[in-house]
């Protein structure tokens, strides 16, 4: 009965009605299905990272007190940031500035010159106004960082704070890891017998807990009881304790970090080297190019975009460093190896929650600005060129 009724109904309607309905229903269900694929992930990211981020931004401007059964939050404006940048926490956060050494002057002048040259070049190259404003802002930010780094590191009586310490860890660590990773990856692709062994071995440190790496290195670098004791004695450092020397401790952290993360660079660059097109290389070899020229003029440009990506990835992760300095040196001696994340954690532990959030906000701004500048000025262009 009903079928007859509907078919009669259908006959009365203009042709194509049913197919239109079907298309509409199909479209709706397609929308629902496609939404079902992505919504769980989006909701999770919203609730565990985006939303907390906004709360954390708010907490940075607040005084948070622990009370029974929760927190008491007052808005106090910029007080936390004032404490970090000019108040009582300045020496820990920004460091103590000293009078510049000649080398410091040289670095400042060279750095500012480089920035100015980049700006002028961009202006001459016909970059749009928005681009120029963006670059100018980046230059101001970079100049401020440079100023702080030089005044605390290359100055008499200067002492770096957590910002500069973090930057030192990130820059030296990532540079070392990239250089070592690229060199090792190149050597492994030479196709020497036994390369399978090297590939597996070089990967291992990456899998080891940073906490474990920290203990390993404090064992290894014990100048008295550690396995390298004969070596330390031979160079006259038998009774020296790196843990009591600011630079000794920093170097220990950088060495541990490099040991752990070189494999990451190695493995991605290895895959990049192996994945490159062999034809241009063969052509160049036929034309009589030597190994060095092939490396410089063909291989390096071919893996350049991947190299920039992997550097970006490490850069982002390196800014978050806490486990290694916390376990290896507890941020000491003094605050010599205290990273920004570690500072935020120490403030949290002493229930200074608003300050902790403010420090974390500063770290976030620093990482974001550096990542955005890096992506826009370097990587996007390189990827577009490739």
């Amino acid at each position: 009965m009903t079928t007859e009724a509907t078919s009669a109904n259908r006959a009365a309607k203009p042709p194509g009605f049913r197919s239109r309905i079907e298309t509409w229903v199909g479209g709706q269900s397609e929308r629902l299905v496609s939404a079902a694929f992505i919504w769980p992930a989006v909701l999770l990211v919203l609730s565990i990272s985006v939303f907390p981020l906004f709360v954390a931004l708010y907490l940075g401007f607040s005084d948070v007190e622990l009370v029974r059964g929760g927190f008491d939050i007052h808005w106090i404006g910029l007080d936390n940031f004032r404490a970090l940048f000019s108040g009582e926490d300045k020496s820990e956060f920004l460091g103590v500035s000293g009078s510049l050494t000649p080398l410091g002057w040289l670095v400042i002048v060279a750095g500012l010159g480089l920035f100015a040259w980049g700006l002028v070049k961009a202006a001459r190259g016909g970059v749009a106004l928005v681009g120029l404003v963006f670059r100018a802002l980046a230059v101001v930010f970079g100049a401020m960082l440079l100023w702080q780094v030089v005044h605390t590191l290359l100055a008499h009586g200067g002492r770096p704070g957590t910002v500069v310490t973090t930057l030192v860890f990130v820059c030296t660590g990532v540079a070392l890891q990239f250089g070592l990773g690229l060199g090792l990856a190149y050597l492994v692709t030479l196709g020497l017998p036994g390369q399978r062994f090297f590939r597996v071995v070089f990967l291992l440190p990456m899998t080891i807990t940073p906490v474990g790496v920290a203990y390993l290195f404090s064992m290894l670098m014990d100048t008295d009881k550690g396995p390298l004791q004969p070596l330390f004695r031979a160079v006259g450092l038998g009774n020296w304790s790196w843990a009591n020397s600011a630079w000794g401790a920093r170097i220990a952290v950088i060495v541990g970090d490099t040991w752990q993360w070189t494999p990451f660079m190695f493995i991605v660059l290895l895959a990049a080297l192996e994945g490159q097109d062999p034809e241009p290389i063969e052509a160049a070899v036929v034309d009589g190019a030597n190994r060095w020229r092939v490396l410089r003029d063909i291989t390096m440009p071919a893996i350049f975009p991947i190299a920039l990506t992997v550097i970006l990835l490490r850069l982002i992760e390196a800014f978050k460093v806490i486990d290694l300095p916390n376990v290896l040196t507890s941020g000491g001696p003094g605050t010599a190896t205290e990273s920004m994340t570690l500072q935020a954690y120490i403030q949290w532990r002493s229930l200074d929650i608003g300050m902790s959030a403010a420090t974390a906000n500063c770290l976030m701004i620093l990482v974001t600005v550096i990542a955005v500048v890096y992506v826009n000025l370097l990587r996007r262009r390189a990827v577009a060129d490739a």
Binding site: S34, F37, I38, P40, A41, V42, L44, V45, I48, S49, F51, P52, V55, A56, L59, I73, L187, V188, T189, L190, G191, L192, V200, V201, F202, L204, P205, T207, I208, T209, P210, V211, G212, A214, Y215, L216, M219, D224, K225, G226, P227, Q229, P230, W259, V268, A271, E282, I306, T309, I316, K320, I322, D323, V327, T341, A344, Y345, A357, L363, V367
Partner: protein, 341 residues
């Protein structure tokens, strides 16, 4: 593709360069392996053998003993096994969830065209913030959630038609991936408060949820590019045969991308297994994971290298085994993402 290149290279190398290459490779192998060797050796020493200066060779320099292992698995059994169990459960569940949610989002981003209106996004966001603000101000959670949903539905009817600008898949993908830039320390305090309100502090559930969210961006990033390399014709052929989207995803896409999934799983597994900061904030005793337990050793007992070595060894053993077994797949899986994004 790599074979001819590799063979040619070996032939071209002069013996001197070869020797040099082996020296460098050998040196770095030593740098990598010696600390691990020292770890193993130390775990079989008694305290006096550690404090008497370096002893390198078991049976030669010192007499190895199983005392430390017996101690860790005997009297300290509960202190060790519980965090270990926590680590295993939290890592396994969070990696699996991250892989499931992440790869389905990645599939969506690779295969559908999303055109969310900017207005809708702003609205969702605004209601979210309002609800959250209400919770912070002391409104009970269910009431706040209900109010936020009601506000959303009401305003959606009124406002959505007015804003027609949309964003693309690229923007969504970039937004998800960019979450990785966020330092965890910047969001951990609100997460702490959040779980405190839900009475989930110091539970495995809290860690599983947080780790899943933290690792999601990596999965989306790498898997989206992996799915993009699989030809669209396969989906279409299956769709013509009458398979729905979920079936296509489950029976065609997932099996085809096993190599990528394995690589990403290993990566996410290692991140979750070794995670320190979030566990430091979110756990105290019950849900403590291995990194926290190991890190706490120094504080509670001073540097007892011999016990610490045992703990570190049992902690890194599973990951090292996984890494050795899956070495080839990792580099390939990582490459797909690194080239494209």
């Amino acid at each position: 593709m790599t074979r001819p290149l590799a063979r040619r290279s070996t032939r071209d190398i002069s013996p001197r360069a070869k020797l040099l290459a082996y020296l460098v490779l050998g040196f770095w192998s030593l740098v990598v392996l010696f600390p691990l060797y020292w770890l193993v050796v130390t775990s079989f020493k008694v305290p006096i053998q550690v404090f008497d200066g370096p002893k390198y060779i078991p049976w030669g320099d010192f007499k190895p003993t199983l005392d430390n292992w017996r101690y860790i698995f005997g009297p300290l059994r509960n202190d060790t096994l519980r965090p270990y169990e926590n680590s295993v459960i939290v890592t396994a569940f969070s990696s699996t969830f991250a892989l499931l949610l992440g790869s389905s989002a990645a599939y969506g981003l690779a295969r559908f065209h999303y055109q969310p209106k900017l207005g809708t996004i702003g609205l969702v966001f605004g209601c979210f913030v309002l609800g959250a603000g209400a919770v912070l101000l002391g409104v009970p959670l269910p009431v706040a959630v209900a109010a936020a949903i009601a506000a959303f539905l009401l305003l959606a009817k009124l406002l959505i038609g007015r804003f027609r600008r949309t964003i693309s898949n690229r923007d969504i993908a970039f937004w998800i991936i960019s979450q990785r830039i966020l330092p965890p320390v910047a969001v951990v305090i609100p997460i702490y408060v959040f779980f405190q309100n839900l009475h989930l502090l110091d539970t495995r559930t809290a860690l599983v949820i947080t780790y899943t969210a933290a690792n999601l961006p990596i999965v989306v990033w790498l898997m989206r590019d992996y799915f993009n390399t699989i030809p669209l014709e396969l989906d279409q052929a299956a769709a013509i045969d009458g398979a729905g989207r979920f079936r296509v995803f489950r029976t065609i896409m997932l099996p085809l991308s096993v190599p990528g999934l394995v690589a990403v799983f290993l990566l996410v597994f290692v991140f979750a297994w070794n995670e320190y900061l979030l566990a430091l904030f979110l756990t105290s005793a019950n849900a403590q994971t291995m990194p926290i337990t190991v890190a706490a050793q120094n504080a509670t007992r001073g540097p007892q290298w011999w016990y610490m070595s045992v703990l570190i060894m049992i902690m890194i053993a599973p990951v090292i085994a996984l890494a050795i077994a899956l070495e080839r797949r990792i580099s390939r899986g990582l490459l797909v993402g690194a080239v494209k994004a």
